[in-house]
C-alpha cells in the first residue's frame, strides 16, 4: 500500500518536478535575467493566448478527438470583433457587442464541427482539418485580406495590452479560464461525463450519458475558447488579420500531450496541460535568453513531444498492464455503435 502511494505521489507531482528542474537549469545558465519577476511575467504572457485555447481543446482531446480548427477560429473571431467595433463607432457598447458576436461566430463553428463529428461518427481529425481550411478562407474574406488596425477604444485594447496590478490582462484571462476549466472538469456533472465518454463510450452510453450531446458540447467549448483567445490576440496586437493564429493548434496540442493527456481520450487534466504549456514556454524563453534563434523552437518542441509521450506510454505499459490501443484509436470501426441505437 505504501509503495503504491509513493508511486502515486511521483505520478502526481512528476510534471511540476520536471518543470522545476528545467527552471533550475535556466536559473543556473542565466542567473541574472531568468529568475526575475518581469521575465516570469513575459513567460506567462507568451503562453497566455494558447493557454486560453488549451482550456477549450482539452475537452475534444479528453473525448478521444481533436480540434485542428482553433487557429483560424481565433483569427475569425478576432476579425469579427474588431470589425463590429469599427462598424459601431468604437464606443464602449460596441466592444461588448463585438466580443459577443466574436464568441458567437466561434461557437457556431464549434457547433458545426461537433454535430458532424458526433452524429456521423467520422474522424474528428479530418473534419476539423477541413473546417480549419474553410474558416481560414472565411477569415480572409471577412478581413478582405487586409490588416485591420484596432488601436481604440481603450476598453478594447485593455483586454490584450492592459495591465492590472502590473500584470498583463491576458494572464488573468488565461488564469480565470484555467480555473473555470478545472472546475468544469472536476466539479461538474458535465466534466464527469466528458471523462466517461472518453474513457469508455459504450459504458457511458449504458449509464445513461447522452454521448453525442456531450461530444457536441465539447467541440462548441473548444471553439468558444479559441474565439476568446482570438479576441485577446486581436486586442494584444491591436489588429485583426486572417493569419493571426496560424499554426497555434500545434502549440496547443503540444502542451496538452506533453501534459500527459492521452490522445486516446479519457485521461488527462487541465493542470497537466498548463504544465505542458509552461514547460514549452520556459524552454522557449530560456533559449531566447541564451541567444538561440526562435527558428529552432520547432525542433526542440518536436523532441520534447517525443520524450514526454514516449515516457508516458512506457510508464503506462509498465504500471497498469492495460492493453490499450497505442494508435490513438480506442474506437475502431463499428465499436462505438454497439451501445447506441444506430
Amino acid at each position: 500500500m505504501n509503495k503504491m502511494n509513493r508511486s502515486q505521489f511521483v505520478k502526481r507531482f512528476q510534471k511540476p518536478l520536471i518543470l522545476l528542474g528545467v527552471m533550475l537549469v535556466m536559473v543556473i545558465l542565466q542567473p541574472r535575467i531568468f529568475p526575475t519577476f518581469n521575465n516570469m511575467l513575459s513567460i506567462l504572457y507568451a503562453v497566455s493566448i494558447y493557454g486560453t485555447m488549451i482550456c477549450g481543446m482539452i475537452y475534444a482531446v479528453l473525448l478521444g478527438g481533436i480540434d485542428l480548427s482553433v487557429g483560424p477560429v481565433a483569427a475569425l473571431s478576432g476579425a469579427v470583433t474588431v470589425l463590429t467595433i469599427i462598424g459601431m463607432g468604437k464606443t464602449g457598447t460596441s466592444v461588448v457587442v463585438g466580443i459577443v458576436l466574436g464568441l458567437l461566430a466561434g461557437a457556431a463553428v464549434g457547433l458545426v464541427n461537433g454535430l458532424i463529428i458526433s452524429y456521423f461518427d467520422v474522424p474528428a481529425f479530418l473534419i476539423t482539418l477541413s473546417t480549419q481550411s474553410i474558416i481560414n478562407g472565411v477569415a480572409q474574406l471577412t478581413t478582405g485580406n487586409h490588416t485591420i488596425a484596432a488601436m481604440e477604444p481603450p476598453s478594447f485594447t485593455f483586454i490584450g495590452s492592459g495591465r492590472l496590478l502590473g500584470v498583463p490582462v491576458p494572464i488573468y484571462i488565461m488564469g480565470i479560464m484555467m480555473l473555470l476549466t478545472y472546475i468544469i472538469l472536476n466539479k461538474t456533472v458535465f466534466g464527469q461525463r466528458v471523462y466517461a465518454v472518453g474513457g469508455n463510450r459504450q459504458a457511458a452510453a449504458l449509464s445513461g450519458v447522452a454521448v453525442r450531446r456531450v461530444s457536441t458540447v465539447c467541440y462548441v467549448l473548444s471553439s468558444l475558447m479559441a474565439a476568446l483567445s482570438g479576441i485577446v490576440l486581436a486586442s494584444m496586437n491591436q489588429q485583426a488579420i486572417a493569419k493571426a493564429a496560424t499554426g497555434y493548434e500545434n502549440d496547443v496540442l503540444t502542451a496538452i500531450v506533453v501534459g500527459g493527456t492521452s490522445l486516446a481520450g479519457g485521461e488527462g487534466s487541465i493542470q497537466g496541460a498548463l504544465f505542458g504549456a509552461l514547460l514549452v514556454g520556459v524552454l522557449n524563453n530560456g533559449m531566447r535568453l541564451m541567444g538561440v534563434p526562435s527558428t529552432y523552437h520547432t525542433l526542440v518542441k518536436g523532441v520534447i513531444i517525443i520524450c514526454a509521450v514516449a515516457t508516458d506510454v512506457y510508464a503506462k505499459n509498465k504500471n497498469s498492464g492495460l492493453q490499450r490501443s497505442m494508435f490513438g484509436r480506442p474506437f475502431r470501426r463499428g465499436d462505438s455503435k454497439g451501445a447506441l441505437k444506430s
Partner: protein, 506 residues
Amino acid sequence: MSDQVLLRAENIHKSFSGVQVLKGVNLEIRSGEVHALMGENGAGKSTLIKIIMGVYPKDEGTIWIQGKQAEINSRSDAQRLGLAVIYQELSLIPTLTVMQNILLGQETRRCGLLDSKTMTRRVLELMERFDLYLDPGEVVENLSIAQQQTVEILKSLTVDAPLIIMDEPTASLSASESERLFDIINRLRDKGVGILYITHRLEEVRLLADRLTVLRDGENVAVVEKKDYDPQKIIRMMIGKDIATSADRVAMHRPGGPVGLSVRGLTRRGVFENVSFDAHHGEILGIGGLVGSGRTEVLRTIFGADRADAGEITLDGEKIGGTVAGNIKKGFGLIPEDRRGQGFIPLQSIRKNIALTNYDLLSNALGIVNSGRESRMCDDAISNLAVRPNIPSMPVINLSGGNQQKVVVGKWMARDLRVLLVDEPTAGIDVGVKEAIYQILEGLAAKGVIVIVVSSDLQELLRVSTRILVMRKGRIFREFNEGFITQEDVLAAASGIDNSREADHE
C-alpha cells in the same frame, strides 16, 4: 486413414492461481472423425483448447501430434502443426479477398510479385478438394457470417492433415446456415480431416459426432461412441449425478408479489420474436438458454439500449420508453455481460464509476457535483458490497474481476432501483466472490426490486432464480414456475431435446 490418431493429449494439468482447472484430462482425435467435446461452463473446455493452441502453457502432461510429441508454445507453433481454431468471433481481414485471406502468410510469388494465377489455382483446388465453393475474388466483409466461417475453414485446410477446432460454431448462424455448416463438416470428415467440435447443443452432437468426450470439473467423465449415444445419459454425465437427489433439485415458485414489469410481444427483427413475460416484485427471474438465443438482446432492448421493432413494456402499469437515460430515471439498471467493454470506465476511479449513473442525485441545479455526497455514496457502496481494496481513488481497471463487478453493481445500488437487469452476473469471477454477488441480488429482491438474471451457468441460474424462463432461437421456449427442477431440465429445454412444448423437428 481413418484410424490414424491426429492428436493425443494425455494427463493435462493446469491451475490458475492455485485453483486446479484441469486435473489430468485426456483427449484423442483421429483423422476423419468429428469429435465432440461437451461439458458445462467451467468444466475446462476452453482451457484445454487454449493449451492445445499454445495460448496457455500446460503444467503437466504430453501432447502428441500425429504420433510425434509436440511442444506448442505459441499460436504460430500450433498453426505449423496443422491446428486451427474457428472461434465464434472470426479473425479474418475484412477488406481482403477470399483468396488473400485463405493464403495470408503463404502466398506464392514469382520474381517477387504475387503469382495470382497460381494462387487462384491453389485456392480453387482447395475448394474443389473439399467441395466448398466461394468466389475467390470476393471481399470478405461482403460475405455472410456463414460464408466467412467457410473462409476460415478453408484457411485452416491449407496444411496437410489438418485438425480443426470449432468452438460453438453455430452460435451466430441461422438454422439454414447451420445446416450448411453441418454439410461442410460431414464433407471434411469424409476427406480425412479431424474436427474437434465444442458445443452445448446435444442435437448437433447427435447429428455430427462420431465420438464424444465429456468433461466435468476438469476431469474426463467418459468417451462415448456414436452407437452408445443417449442424450439423457450425457446430460447426467455433464451435471455429475446419476440420479438427481433432492439436494440438486431446486424449487421453483409461482411469484407471490404483484406484477411489476410486463413485456408484451417484444420483437427485434432477426434477433428475437414475440417475447412476452411478466416479472413480479421481489422475485429473481432467471433467463436460461444457449449463447445466441437472444437473451442478452432482450435485456438490452428492455433497458432501451437497442430499439425494439414491436412490442410494449410497462412497469407498474406505466409505459416504458426507449431511451437509456429515461429508463434509468424510472428505476432501471443494467449490468452488462462484457464488463470490460461496457460495464465500467477502466481508467476512472471506483468513486467516479459508482457516481456515474447517479449525478442526478449528486448535483445541484447548476450541475455542480457535491463531492461530499459523492464520497459518501462511494464509501457506502464500498462498505456495503465489501469492495477490496477499499480505496475510492483506485482505477477500476486495477481491481480483480469480482471487485470490478461489485463496482458495476454498486453504481445501481445507490439509486432508487426498481428493475435490475443482470447479464452473466459472475462471468470470470472467483468462486469466493460469486456467492457474495448472489447475496447482493437476493438482498435487492427482498427489498422488492425486480431482478432479471441471464446466465449460461446452470448451477448459478438454479442457485439465484425463483423462476426460470428458457429461451431458444429468439423465443421463450419454456417456463419453470413450480415444483422441483434440476440442471438437466433446463439444459434439455435449452438444447432442444425437450420438444414437449413445440413441434420443432430440428
